[in-house]
C-alpha cells in the first residue's frame, strides 16, 4: 500500500486519482500506524510551508522519518519536497525534516511570482525517477518558493535563474512540480516511483 499523507494541507484527491489510474493500491491517511505499514510514502503539499508544522504535531513526521530509516521509498511533491530540506524563507520558524541540506528561497523580483504553468526540465540521464522519459520534458509548476541547485538535484528548471525541479538520494525523491497534473510525463514519473 502507498500512503498519501494527509496533514490538512490542500487537496489530495488529484494525487490519489493519478495513483488509482496507474492501478496502485493507495490510501489517503493521517494515521501514523498506516504510514508505518506503507511500502511507499507520498507527501503532497500545496500552499504555505508553515502548514508542514502539522506533520510534527500529529506524529506524522516521526512515522515518516522512521519509515525512511527502514528503507521505505518516499516522494515529496511541491511543499512536500521543500519540507525534506532544512528550512524555508517562507516560514523560518518552521523547521523542515532536514533530510537533505539546503534552504528554500524566494524567486527574485525580476520574475512574476508564483511560478505558474508548464516549464521545461533538464533531467540528468542518471535519474531513476525520469528513467525512460525525454531529457527535456514539460511539467506543471505552481509555487512561490524554490530549492536551489544542490548536490542532490537530478532535474533543473529555469525561471529567474535555475532551481531544483527534482532531487533524489537513495530511496528518497522530491519534485517541485505536480506529476499528477503533468499529463503523460507526470504519470510515467509516478509509475517509475511505484516500481523503484
Amino acid at each position: 500500500m502507498i500512503a498519501i499523507v494527509d496533514y490538512g494541507a490542500g487537496n489530495l484527491v488529484s494525487v490519489k486519482k493519478a495513483l488509482d489510474w496507474l492501478g496502485q493500491d493507495c490510501l489517503i491517511t493521517s494515521d501514523p500506524r498506516r504510514i508505518a505499514e506503507a511500502v511507499r510514502i507520498v507527501l503532497p503539499g500545496v500552499g504555505h510551508f508553515a502548514s508542514t508544522a502539522a506533520l510534527a504535531r500529529y506524529g506524522l513526521q516521526a512515522a515518516i522519518a522512521d519509515a525512511i530509516g527502514r528503507g521505505v521509498s518516499f516522494l515529496g511533491i511541491c511543499v512536500g519536497m521543500q519540507w525534506m530540506f532544512e528550512r524555508s524563507q517562507e516560514s523560518p520558524e518552521t523547521p523542515g525534516l532536514g533530510l537533505l541540506p539546503g534552504e528554500c528561497e524566494r524567486f527574485p523580483a525580476s520574475v512574476k511570482s508564483p511560478h505558474v504553468g508548464w516549464n521545461q526540465l533538464e533531467a540528468a540521464p542518471s535519474s531513476r525517477l525520469f528513467r525512460g522519459l525525454p531529457e527535456l520534458s514539460y511539467v506543471y509548476f505552481t509555487h512561490s518558493y524554490r530549492v536551489p541547485i544542490t548536490e542532490t538535484t537530478t532535474a533543473g528548471c529555469e525561471y529567474g535563474g535555475r532551481f531544483s525541479a527534482a532531487v533524489e538520494r537513495d530511496h528518497v525523491f522530491g519534485v517541485q512540480f505536480h506529476p499528477e497534473k503533468s499529463a503523460e510525463v507526470g504519470l510515467a514519473l509516478l509509475r517509475n516511483f511505484c516500481t523503484l
Partner: protein
C-alpha cells in the same frame, strides 16, 4: 522557459457542453468528460469548466460532471460558475477540481477570496473578471451575473484588489470582444497584466492563431482561453500550438 498556456473552456449546462450560436439556442456540443479528455490529448495545457446553469438545483449534476471529468484528466482543471461560499468551493474541490473560479460572489464579498485561499491555497483561487469598456472610452468596468449587471468597479483596480486578497490568477474576459472571433482585447489584457504580479489568462475574441500571438506579445498575457474555436474540430489545438511555436511563442510542444 515558462511556456504560454492554451486553455480550453467548456461551457456546461445541466451536465452537457453547450455552444452559444448567435441568435440561436444553445447547441449541444457533447459530454464534458469526453471533450476534456480529447482536448487534453490534442495539447490543451489546462481545462476550465464553466457551469452556466443558473439554477442552484442543478448543483448535484455539476458535481457529478466534475467528478466524471476529473477522473480521467491529468492536467490542471478549473471549475467556475455558481460558487458563492467556501462550502460550494470545498464541494467542487473534493469532486476533483484543482482550482475554482469565482466572479460575482467575489465582487459581492471580496473576503470570500481570502477564505478560500487560506483553506486551499492561492494557487487554487482564480478570480474571473468580465470587463467592458466604459462608454466614454476610457478604462473598463467589471460586470457581474454573466455580464448582466455593472459593478461600478474599475476592472484593473479590482484585479489588484483580488491579488492582494489572495487570488492566484486572474481570468480576464473582454465582453466587448467575446463571441466576435476578431481577436482578444490586447489593451485591456496589458493594462491588467502589467498591474498585477499574478498570471493573467486572456479570454474573449479568439478566432485564429494570430490572435493568440498578439495577446501574448502585445497583451502580455500569461495564458489564453478559448471555447468555441476548439469545438467540432473547427480549429484544432494541435494545429494552433504548432503555429504558435513557428511564430516564436514558447508553448508546450510536443506535449
Amino acid at each position: 522557459m515558462l511556456t504560454k498556456r492554451i486553455i480550453a473552456c467548456l461551457d456546461v449546462d445541466r451536465g452537457r457542453v453547450v455552444k452559444g450560436v448567435q441568435f440561436e439556442k444553445l447547441r449541444d456540443a457533447g459530454d464534458p468528460a469526453q471533450l476534456a479528455k480529447a482536448h487534453s490529448e490534442s495539447g490543451a495545457d489546462e481545462i476550465v469548466l464553466l457551469d452556466i446553469s443558473a439554477a442552484h438545483q442543478h448543483r448535484a449534476t455539476l458535481l457529478d460532471t466534475v467528478r466524471r471529468t476529473a477522473s480521467q484528466l491529468f492536467i490542471p482543471f478549473t471549475v467556475g460558475g455558481g460558487i458563492r461560499t467556501l462550502e460550494d468551493a470545498a464541494a467542487v474541490f473534493s469532486a476533483g477540481a484543482d482550482k475554482i473560479s469565482i466572479n460575482s460572489a467575489a465582487l459581492a464579498d471580496p473576503a470570500l477570496i481570502t477564505r478560500i485561499a487560506e483553506r486551499f491555497g492561492s494557487q487554487a483561487v482564480v478570480v474571473a473578471i468580465d470587463a467592458k469598456r466604459r462608454e466614454n472610452g476610457s478604462h473598463w468596468e467589471a460586470f457581474t451575473h454573466g455580464g448582466r449587471s455593472g459593478s461600478g468597479r474599475d476592472a484593473v483596480a479590482w484585479a489588484g484588489e483580488a491579488e492582494l486578497r489572495g487570488a492566484g490568477e486572474i481570468l480576464l474576459t473582454s465582453m466587448d470582444c467575446d463571441g466576435t472571433a476578431t481577436g482578444f482585447d490586447c489593451n485591456l489584457t496589458r493594462a491588467v497584466a502589467d498591474s498585477v504580479r499574478i498570471p493573467v489568462i486572456a479570454s474573449g475574441g479568439a478566432g485564429g492563431a494570430q490572435h493568440f500571438v498578439e495577446v501574448f506579445r502585445a497583451g502580455h498575457a500569461d495564458a489564453a482561453l478559448a471555447a468555441s474555436i476548439f469545438h467540432y474540430g473547427f480549429s484544432r489545438l494541435r494545429d494552433l500550438k504548432q503555429q504558435l511555436g513557428s511564430a516564436g511563442i514558447a508553448v508546450r510542444w510536443p506535449c
